[in-house]
């Protein structure tokens, strides 16, 4: 007689030891927060480029919308495999062809986010080494050094230790808080002004650009469901980590960018941003911190490590997406291979590395601006791609729970996704309207359509490719969105039962279990 379901399981207990604890998942989600990168580089460039002062308010609003979005997102994560990838939600919640379109959008978006960082890294490193060692080296040399290290780490499957990332993040937050206190302690004109939070500083021409920048800044909040099947108490841990990441990012980004406007004055911040570039956050606080230049140096170094960590993280995201698509047979299967010695998705990793190299070389040869063109254009356009995926995911969540509620609350499966679609849809509309403003080009410049249009193009190619698969290779089509389990018949059922509990419980009832009396074969 098999033991009852409730008796403690030796096997489960033993496997649980290998699972991630609450803190590990939270730390992982938190490391997506990069205060110096976002406020020091992204927001300052946005102020200079789009002239929208109200970035602090944009962070608050986008943070709220993303928290609402996450309700449905983490609810559906409990019912899908490969829960770390947006396209899986779309493939399983809406339809497989749209899923492939979404996967191509995601690969493009994460590539843009990753490659854009090389421009920023190059510029920041160039300034730092110029100042301290008088090295006269071009930005792309630093970018290529970073590229080579990322390439090696990806190919060898070397991760930055999560504790190291955690300590770096903590150090970054300490530095940012010191800056904030210094800034807020020395307000321009003597009064701490809340002007940057006033709607009239955000809802101006180019509000869409500010929203796109804010979405870009929050990117990474979506990572925790990767551990849906790996974390202890995943049902609570994954949502907690997601909401906490959004909250911390929202508060740190909003307060820090607000503090700068307090110190230099909301009306002067655009001019100062154009003048100082990524040094603004350091210059402003430096004035009040007196000769404590050590903290500025620490800040610069932390900015570099933060950019580097972002590069590694996005590189791995792209590699995982292409690996997953290779496993499913949507892209060539060779992309789905792992290296025996390391388990690295080697070919997928090398592919991203090559794409990044090509872009860096093109920018270096053409002499294009690494900060505005490479970092800001690609970064924010990458964020725009994530925005489209968020909307697609919310719609898919609605559809996924439409017929079978799977014991999720009405808030998670219905109300929150509808609110998210409305909020994010408005952001998308404004962003498209203000894309020229975002890129800092004249409104008739074709680039304003080309950049967002790239997503439409790859999405259409993805859908058409999926439809070709549907008629030509129906088994491949069936596996779309299943990630690692694709291609194996036994795992075709990805969506767990109505209880929402993963597959290993489906044989729990003793009546389901029978001793077979199969004939013993002669061999």
């Amino acid at each position: 007689m098999p033991p009852s379901v409730n008796s403690p399981s030796v096997v489960s207990a033993s496997l649980a030891k290998d699972r991630l604890g609450v803190m590990a998942v939270i730390m992982f989600a938190m490391t997506a927060a990069t205060p110096l990168l976002v406020v020091g580089a992204l927001v300052v460039t946005a102020w200079g480029n789009t002239q929208v002062v109200g970035m602090p308010l944009a962070f608050v609003l986008i943070g709220i919308v993303l928290a609402i979005f996450s309700a449905g997102y983490v609810a559906m994560a409990r019912h899908v495999v490969n829960a770390g990838a947006f396209y899986s939600y779309i493939a399983l919640g809406a339809n497989k062809s749209l899923g492939v379109g979404a996967s191509f959008v995601a690969v493009l978006a994460y590539n843009m986010l990753q490659i854009g960082l090389y421009g920023l890294f190059g510029v920041v490193a160039q300034d730092l080494f110029q100042q301290h060692f008088s090295w006269d080296v071009k930005w792309y040399v630093y970018a290529l050094v970073a590229w080579a290290v990322v390439a090696l780490m990806g190919a060898l499957r070397v991760d930055i230790n999560s504790k190291v990332l955690g300590i770096l993040l903590l150090a970054e937050i300490v530095v940012v808080v010191i800056f904030d206190v210094a800034d807020l302690g020395h307000p321009l004109g003597g009064n701490v002004s809340l002007a940057a939070f006033q709607p009239n500083h955000l809802f101006v021409t180019g509000v869409g650009a500010a929203f796109a920048v804010a979405i870009t800044a929050f990117t990474g909040f979506e990572a925790a469901p990767v551990f849906s099947e790996e974390a202890r108490h995943a049902r609570r841990t994954v949502p907690a980590a997601t909401y906490l990441a959004i909250a911390v990012m929202g508060v740190v980004y909003a307060v820090t960018s607000w503090a700068i406007t307090v110190a230099v004055g909301a009306d002067n911040v655009v001019a100062r941003a154009q003048q100082d570039g990524p040094d603004l956050i350091f210059n402003v606080a430096g004035k009040f911190l007196g000769n404590a230049s050590t903290i500025l140096d620490i800040g610069h170094v932390l900015l570099l490590t933060s950019i580097f960590a972002g590069m590694v993280s996005y590189h791995n995201a792209v590699a995982r997406y292409t690996f997953s698509l290779g496993r499913e047979g949507v892209l060539p299967r060779v992309l789905g291979h792992t290296r025996a010695r390391t388990g690295a998705p080697l070919i997928a990793s090398i592919l991203q590395t090559i794409v990044a190299l090509v872009v860096i070389v093109v920018f270096a040869v053409a002499g294009w601006d690494p900060l505005f063109r490479l970092f800001f254009w690609l970064g924010t356009t990458g964020g725009f791609g994530i925005l489209t995926l968020l909307i697609g995911t919310s719609l898919s969540v609605l559809n996924f729970f439409r017929i079978n509620h799977r014991d999720e609350t009405m808030w998670s499966r219905l109300i929150a996704p509808i609110l998210a679609v409305a909020g994010l849809g408005y952001v998308l509309y404004e962003t498209l309207l203000g894309f020229a403003n975002l890129l800092g080009v004249p409104s008739h410049d074709p680039v304003r359509w080309i950049m967002p249009g790239l997503y439409l193009a790859v999405a259409v190619v993805g859908v058409l490719w999926a439809l070709t698969l549907k008629s030509g290779k129906p088994d491949v089509y069936d596996g779309i969105g299943l990630g690692a389990t694709a291609g194996t018949a036994v795992a075709a059922m990805t969506v767990a039962s109505a209880t929402g509990v993963p597959t290993q419980t489906s044989g729990t009832h003793s009546r389901d279990y029978e001793d077979p009396t199969y004939t013993q074969r002669d061999r």
Binding site: P2, P3, V5, S9, V10, V11, S12, S14, L15, D18, N82, G84, A85, R157, D159, V226, F227, E229, E230, N316, R320, F323, S324, R327, G336, H337, T338, R339, A340, R341, T342, G343, A344, P345, G483, A484, T485, G487, T488, A489, V490, A491, T503, Q504, T505, S506, G507, T508, S510, Y513, E514, D515, P516, T517, Y518, Q520, R521, R523
Partner: protein
């Protein structure tokens, strides 16, 4: 020195040795894949001795079984009888925690490996091959079988399946001709005749890929 060319091998021992570099005594596989591969091989030994079958990811234990001779098999079997609620992925992950150690001990007992203490304080225990060529021979033998398309046992078929599932193909077939790759495909199709082995092998591949996607090593 024993005559290793003719030594009969159990499946899991054989797979472990194929995953080992005989000259450096370092594994050719990362730890996760090695653990899962050897665990699947141990389970395949139970399948091939008619103790279990795998049906739709559930483990079915033969009703009139005799206790297996090997202690490791008896332990595995009683674990699966005690907790029938778990499915194949759970069992593979569970057995993978100890599988490599079990097989290393088996190979020490058979005098294929011995233990050496290495490192500064001699604190690191390393399993060292008695005869590196004997280890290399395990891979060469399989490469030859593939080349000649001469698969006679389910054990060899299982090993070839596990080699492909864990990504060892290039290590084993480093010297292979183009035809051999074709042979490999033909050979693997025979796995369809033995659903339990098929399930074990595809599940190993799935779990290795899942580790990539969930960023776990």
């Amino acid at each position: 020195m024993h005559n290793w060319e003719d030594t009969p091998f159990s499946l899991a021992d054989d797979f472990y040795l194929i995953g080992l570099d005989g000259r450096t005594n370092r594994p050719r596989l990362h730890a996760k894949a090695m653990g899962l591969g050897v665990a699947a091989a141990l389970m395949a030994e139970l399948v091939l001795n008619n103790y279990i079958q795998i049906h739709q990811n559930r483990i079915l234990v033969a009703s009139r079984h005799y206790a297996p001779e090997g202690r490791e098999h008896a332990d595995m079997l009683s674990a699966m009888i005690a907790e029938p609620q778990h499915q194949l992925p759970v069992w593979l992950s569970y057995f993978a925690q100890t599988s490599v150690e079990i097989v290393q001990e088996r190979l020490v007992a058979r005098r294929f490996l011995h233990v050496e203490s290495r490192g500064v304080l001699r604190s690191k225990q390393t399993y060292v091959a008695e005869d590196p060529m004997a280890v290399e021979w395990r891979s060469l033998r399989i490469a030859r079988l593939i080349s000649k398309r001469d698969i006679r046992t389910w054990e060899d078929l299982s090993i070839i399946g596990l080699i492909v599932a864990t990504g060892l193909t290039d290590n084993v077939m480093w010297n292979a001709a183009a035809d051999d790759r074709e042979n490999l495909l033909t050979i693997l199709r025979y796995l369809n005749d033995e659903p339990s082995l098929h399930a074990l092998i595809t599940q190993v591949e799935t779990l290795i890929a899942a580790a990539v996607l969930s960023q776990r090593k």
